[in-house]
């Protein structure tokens, strides 16, 4: 049995008096998708920031592929094969879309190639996320959906083994969601481990192997998607009664 792709033990982070995240322990098997849901302020983004080193934990530990990376700087963790997207997209505004993505190819775990090689690899990634032909454009000219795709492309260009997605589908229209889900599934099928924070419950349920529900910084429950949505506490804290009724009514639309 190989080590979990991601494992946290008793992970906590306080901001002054506020417990943004307390005592979260989780373990994600390689090649699976963990979905994280929860209301605003539940600690979802904090969890991602703790894993990627953008925040340092107050206590607890983070292991990636069995290697402890607790409190390491973000680039050390990135080079260990962990890529992420940001909830508020962070393009490098004065670089072209291609160069934005090429940065990941240059500095990722198996980077260090020439700038030209990185740009070639960037074009492949752009094609994969559906941004083929937009390489020369400045990121400011992309619409919301394409900006999300760029954010994802930047992360993929790193060639990660573990991919953390922070609401990468926010702002996508209905017709744009299915191709995005398809992409996530195909990445998982290639062996990538994915942790996806998402607000759209339908999205998370359809793609996750397991779901973690956070509430006020704590784990409320975790399990198979179908079990989690039936959990009384989850309905109470997050989904709401109306959602539960609709689910009970037999149609899966949220």
């Amino acid at each position: 049995m190989s080590a979990p792709a991601l494992e946290t033990r008793g992970l906590s982070r306080r901001f002054g008096g506020l417990e943004a995240l307390s005592d979260v322990s989780l373990s994600v098997e390689p090649g699976t998708v963990l979905g994280i849901i929860g209301p605003n302020g539940a600690g979802k983004s904090t969890l991602i920031n703790l894993v990627t080193g953008h925040l340092k934990p107050s206590s607890g530990s983070v292991c990636v592929d069995g290697r402890e990376v607790t409190g390491q700087r973000p680039w050390v963790i990135a080079r260990a094969g962990v890529a992420r997207t940001f909830q508020i997209v962070k393009p490098f505004r004065e670089l072209t879309v291609r160069d934005n993505v090429a940065i990941g190819a240059m500095f990722g775990p198996d980077g260090a190639g020439s700038v030209k090689d990185a740009q070639r690899r960037a074009d492949e990634v752009l094609e994969r996320v559906g941004l083929a032909g937009r390489g020369e454009v400045p990121p400011g000219e992309l619409d919301v959906a394409d900006a999300r795709r760029l954010e994802l492309a930047k992360a993929l260009a790193l060639g990660p083994r573990l991919l953390l997605l922070d609401e990468v589908m926010a702002g996508l229209r209905g017709s744009e969601i299915e191709p995005a889900l398809e992409l996530i599934r195909s990445l998982r099928d290639e062996g990538m481990t994915i942790v996806a924070v998402e607000h759209i419950v339908k999205v998370i349920l359809s793609v996750s192997d397991e779901v973690l529900v956070l509430h006020e910084g704590r784990e409320l429950t975790r399990g198979k998607p179908a079990e989690v949505v039936k959990d009384e506490r989850v309905i109470e804290a997050y989904l709401g009664q109306r959602y539960a009724k609709r689910m009970a009514g037999g149609n899966g639309d949220a």
Partner: protein
């Protein structure tokens, strides 16, 4: 549209930065222009008076200073207001080694570079943790503080009355190069500094710095060791700037703290890089040459008001060309529109 792609073809063939970023003064036309300019500058001194050689030497020195600032302020986006500290340290290292240790200038020069490198790396560790205004203020503070330190170490530095570099007679360790000699020395430094910036702009290192400039958290998430990259940029700036200080100290012969740690050097190098185009290769060259000549012209023709007029022109340039001359021309070249009013609107100044 057809002319557009034609005009950008050589650029995409030339540089890895992508045709949209380059296009102007890149590709073969850019290299040809640079080669011609360099040949003219090499041939020129025989046609010039000593005072004109000195003005050009100063212009070349400012090219180097502006390029040094460009690395940390333009590429990495850390607006240093204390680069004069490297200038002063380079100058004092040279003067002390030549006056007190009897060293040759050609020994003192690399020593000055090492001091600039070491101090930039040392100072970078704490101050590069600060961002934006805080970084600017901290660097300004270090430079001002260093001037006081040098002032008070009078056993070594001669305090407020300064040091005299032995330049003539039997005490001279290196024969004084004269106006033409310093002209070529500063020209070589300007070329070296610009070559370093050109290399950076095309390297992984340079892409990393640009990423840091635009979003440091995202840059770190992409695997860029932001601490190392920033200190690297600062150290390169330190080397270039301290080399300029070393040459300046030798050229001036007598140096004192108020002269070598003059905050005006910092201001001029920032303004030159920004007006020419910070984060570009050519911008700081144009900014430094242009503003040095403008300043000289005003001094000759407006004895009483030249500083005031110079200041007004700088303010106007910053308002009308906030992105710098090079980017303004690049964008105009791409969109076929050159309008300063549009420009002001686009950058919402």
């Amino acid at each position: 549209m057809a002319t557009d792609t034609q005009a950008e073809k050589p650029a995409s063939a030339e540089g890895p930065g992508g045709a949209r970023r380059l296009g102007f003064l890149s590709g073969r036309a850019g290299w040809a222009a640079a080669a011609v300019a360099l040949l003219v500058f090499i041939a020129l001194p025989t046609q010039l008076y000593g005072s004109q050689q000195r003005t050009l030497a100063a212009a070349f020195m400012f090219v180097a200073l502006a390029q040094g600032w460009n690395l940390i302020g333009g590429f990495a986006g850390y607006p240093s207001f204390g680069n004069v500290v490297f200038f002063g340290l380079g100058g004092y290292t040279t003067a002390i080694l030549m006056a007190k240790a009897g060293a040759s200038f050609y020994v003192a020069l690399p020593a000055a570079a090492l001091v600039g490198l070491g101090f930039a790396a040392l100072m970078g560790v704490p101050v590069l943790r600060l961002r934006g205004h805080y970084f600017a203020i901290a660097t300004l503070g270090v430079a001002e503080g260093m001037r006081e330190v040098v002032l008070n170490l009078d056993g070594l530095t001669g305090g407020g009355s300064g040091l005299t570099v032995p330049a003539v007679g039997i005490e001279a360790t290196t024969s004084y190069p004269g106006n033409a000699g310093f002209y070529y020395m500063f020209l070589a430094l300007a070329v070296l500094a610009t070559a370093v910036v050109l290399w950076v702009s095309r390297s992984r290192f340079g892409y990393g710095l640009r990423a840091i400039n635009q979003d440091e958290d995202a840059a770190a998430a992409m695997g860029i060791d932001t601490t190392r990259a920033k200190i690297g940029a600062f150290a390169l700036a330190g080397v270039i700037t301290s080399l300029a200080g070393a040459m300046y100290a030798f050229q001036q012969v007598s140096i004192y703290p108020a002269r070598l740690f003059d905050v005006q050097f910092t201001l001029l190098m920032v303004v030159m890089a920004v007006i020419g185009g910070s984060g570009t290769v050519v911008g700081p060259v144009l900014g430094a040459l242009g503003l040095t000549f403008l300043s000289e012209y005003l001094r000759d023709n407006l004895t009483d008001y030249h500083t005031l007029v110079f200041g007004v022109i700088i303010v106007a340039a910053v308002i009308l060309l906030p992105q710098g001359l090079v980017r303004f021309v690049q964008e105009g070249w791409r969109t076929r529109r050159f309008s300063l009013l549009d420009n002001v609107r686009a950058y919402r100044l």
